[in-house]
Structures are given as structure tokens and as C-alpha cells.
Amino acid sequence: MAFAPRRPRAIVRAMAWRPRARVTGWCLALLLAGAGGAHPLLAHHSFAMFDTTSQVTLSGTVTSFEWTNPHAYIELDVAAERGAVTHWSVELGSTSILMQGGWKFNDLKRGDKVTLVLNPLRNGDPGGLLVYVTLPDGRELGNGPGRGRGTR
């Protein structure tokens, strides 16, 4: 399945996620309150450029996995139905936060085929904030503790 923002499958997935999203949102609100406004996962910017009420499912090929700070990134080529390729930049938390959520620096590499769910950029550009990714070996990893399926 290729890039499909706001298509039926993405909507179904988003609906299936609603109960968890509610719990996560509540937890995030608590953490936000405790952090004096600092986001619990992202050390250096607001969450607001991403639409956290919307989820998009993408399947594609990893062109790079950047284990960096202040954020890690998954760069992903997503083939559309007629052969065109859209490139997506997917933002993750920092390396520390990802490690606390069970990630390792070499969990992804160029050429890996993955399916991931993200909160898209509000301005419609092909980028977003990771919710969770299914790795080639079937494991699911979220975006740090308490965010996304597969977190701990």
C-alpha cells in the first residue's frame, strides 16, 4: 500500500487507534503539566506543526535512518499506484527518548521495507511525526515511552 493520506484505510486505522490515542493524550497532558510546558518527548520544539488528531499510514522503502539529535529521522520513499514516488521525512524523538522506548541505533537501515503511522504536518507537506513503525522483522516501535504501539 502506497502513500494514502486520508484514504479509507488510513481513516480505519486512525479510528481503531482512538481509545489508545485518548489514553496517550491524557498521559501527555499530565506530563506536559509536570514539565512546565516542555514536551515530554521533544526537547526543543512545540508539537503544534503536526496534526496529532490525524494519522496517516505509509508503506515504503527506507532511504536513510538518521540516529541523530535533537531528533532522529526516517527518510522514506513511498510508491504511488501509478509508479510515482513521494519522499517523506518522518521525525522521531531524540536518541535518548527513543532508547527509553526500546529503540536501538541500528533497528533500521537503507533499503528496509516498513509500514509506519505518522501524524502529518498540518501544512500538507510530505512529512510528519512518527506514531509507530512496523520493522521488517515484525517488531513495532513507537516514538518513545508512552507514545505509540510497542512502547514500554
Binding site: G34, G36, L42, H44, A48, M49, D51, R122, G144
Partner: protein, 246 residues
């Protein structure tokens, strides 16, 4: 039986000297992570509520305007730029609790060093030294900190924080801001840092709030170098994310 006078004197001397021996301060060394009293945590160990920020006019007015503009921008999905977008470190006192990031305390009798994981910030607390006069220390992100033990509580006095370093909850402060911390173990594995901010220029009265931390045995601190910052500020002052094409 007759007890020798010398033995009685020695015993008495030992008994009297025992209570006056200086008690070693608690060892705070190790890695600590924020403890917020959320799911799985003991709420009784969570930090108590903070006191309100009461600013002097006209600081109060400008502060409220800024907060309102920030809220509105977030609702629009166009967050306003802050120093953080440019990967600037937090400085004192905000560095003392950043999201879920741990901090490491390295305790020596003459100096306590605190290293935080987010942005690898470092502050040094010089123990049992007098504080320098305000105005004799070049203002910076971490200022000048001296510490002492008040029984089992570590008391840290910090001055000389640059006015441009964003304050607690974004509140404005002057170069005369003074930060007093009282750090103590609530349990062997839970630490509280009660922070009081005084500022004769901007604050009507001191602000006090507390951060709580839990011990992270065996945790090894992760490096944090801001090498891949893709956020930028557009011509309207809105934060955007730079995308790659491949």
C-alpha cells in the same frame, strides 16, 4: 567491684564525643530521571504544587500578552519561534527538568557537578565557598553556584543568569535574579529539588516550585549533540520543518 577511675573517664569521653561527630552528608551521586507521580508512580512522592508567578507591572502585562500569543499560535498549528528551535540549551533553572531526560549528579566534598542529558548541559556547584557579589560574575546560562549542607539537605545558591536566558515558564527575569535550591532525598531513590526564584526587579514575590526525580540504577548517560536540527523559522516567525527530497 571497684571500677578504675581512668576507665570511667574514657567511657564517658567516648559517649560524649559520639553525638558531636559530623554526620556525612547523603550521597546524591548517580543518574536521576524526572518523577511525575503518573501511572505506576506513588503520588505521595510527586512534587507539591507550585506557587503562582506574580510579576510586577509592566512585566505582568507583557508576559500575559506573550502567553496568549503563544497559545493562539499553537492552536493555529503555527508555533512561535523560541531559542529552543535554534537548539540553544535551556540554562538555569529550566535545565533542571527537561521532558523525560535524566541528569547525572557527581558528588565530591568540594564540588557537586550536575550534567543533564538534553543538550549535555553542565553546572558546577562549589561547596562551602562564599557567594560572589552580584555584578562581579559575568552573566551566563548557568551563572555562579555555591552550595552547603543544611543537615541532610543540599542548599544551592545561584546568581548571574543572563537576562536573555528564558526563565521558568517563560517568565521574565533581571540580572539580579537569585535561585535557591533545597535538594533532599525523600526516600533512598526519590529526590526533590525545591526551587525558589527571587527577583527584586520583575517579581512581586518569590516563586517556589519543586521537581522530583527517581534514581536510575545502572543507566549510562547518552550524548546529545544538536547535529541534525531541521526546524527553522520562516519569514512570518513560524516554526517549520525542513524536508528532504530523497
Amino acid at each position: 567491684m571497684k571500677v578504675p577511675t581512668v576507665a570511667v573517664a574514657v567511657s564517658l569521653a567516648m559517649l560524649l564525643s559520639a553525638p558531636v561527630q559530623a554526620q556525612a552528608p547523603p550521597d546524591l551521586s548517580g543518574v536521576w530521571a524526572p518523577y511525575r507521580g503518573g501511572r505506576g508512580d506513588d503520588p505521595s512522592l510527586a512534587p507539591p504544587p507550585a506557587s503562582p508567578i506574580v510579576l510586577k507591572a509592566p512585566y505582568a502585562e507583557r508576559y500575559e500578552e506573550r502567553r496568549a500569543a503563544e497559545r493562539e499560535a499553537v492552536e493555529r498549528g503555527e508555533p512561535l519561534a523560541t531559542d529552543a528551535v535554534f537548539c540553544m540549551p535551556y540554562g538555569m533553572p529550566r535545565m533542571m527538568s527537561v521532558a523525560l531526560y535524566p541528569m547525572e549528579i557527581i558528588q565530591r566534598p568540594q564540588q557537586i557537578t550536575i550534567v543533564t542529558e538534553a543538550f549535555s548541559e553542565v553546572r558546577r556547584v562549589y561547596m562551602h565557598e562564599p557567594q560572589l557579589p552580584v555584578g562581579e560574575v559575568p552573566p551566563g546560562y548557568y551563572g555562579h553556584s555555591v552550595g552547603r549542607w543544611d543537615s541532610e539537605t543540599l542548599v544551592i545558591d545561584t546568581i548571574a543568569i543572563k537576562e536573555s536566558v528564558p526563565g521558568y515558564q517563560g517568565m521574565p527575569h533581571s540580572d539580579r535574579m537569585r535561585i535557591t535550591e533545597r535538594i533532599r532525598l525523600i526516600t533512598p531513590d526519590v529526590l526533590h529539588d525545591e526551587i525558589t526564584i527571587e527577583d527584586p526587579v520583575t517579581l512581586e514575590r518569590p516563586v517556589t516550585y519543586t521537581h522530583a526525580y527517581r534514581r536510575m540504577p545502572g543507566y549510562k548517560m547518552v550524548e546529545f549533540v544538536c547535529e541534525n536540527n531541521r526546524e527553522y523559522v520562516d519569514e512570518n516567525g513560524v516554526v517549520r520543518m525542513r524536508l528532504r527530497e530523497n
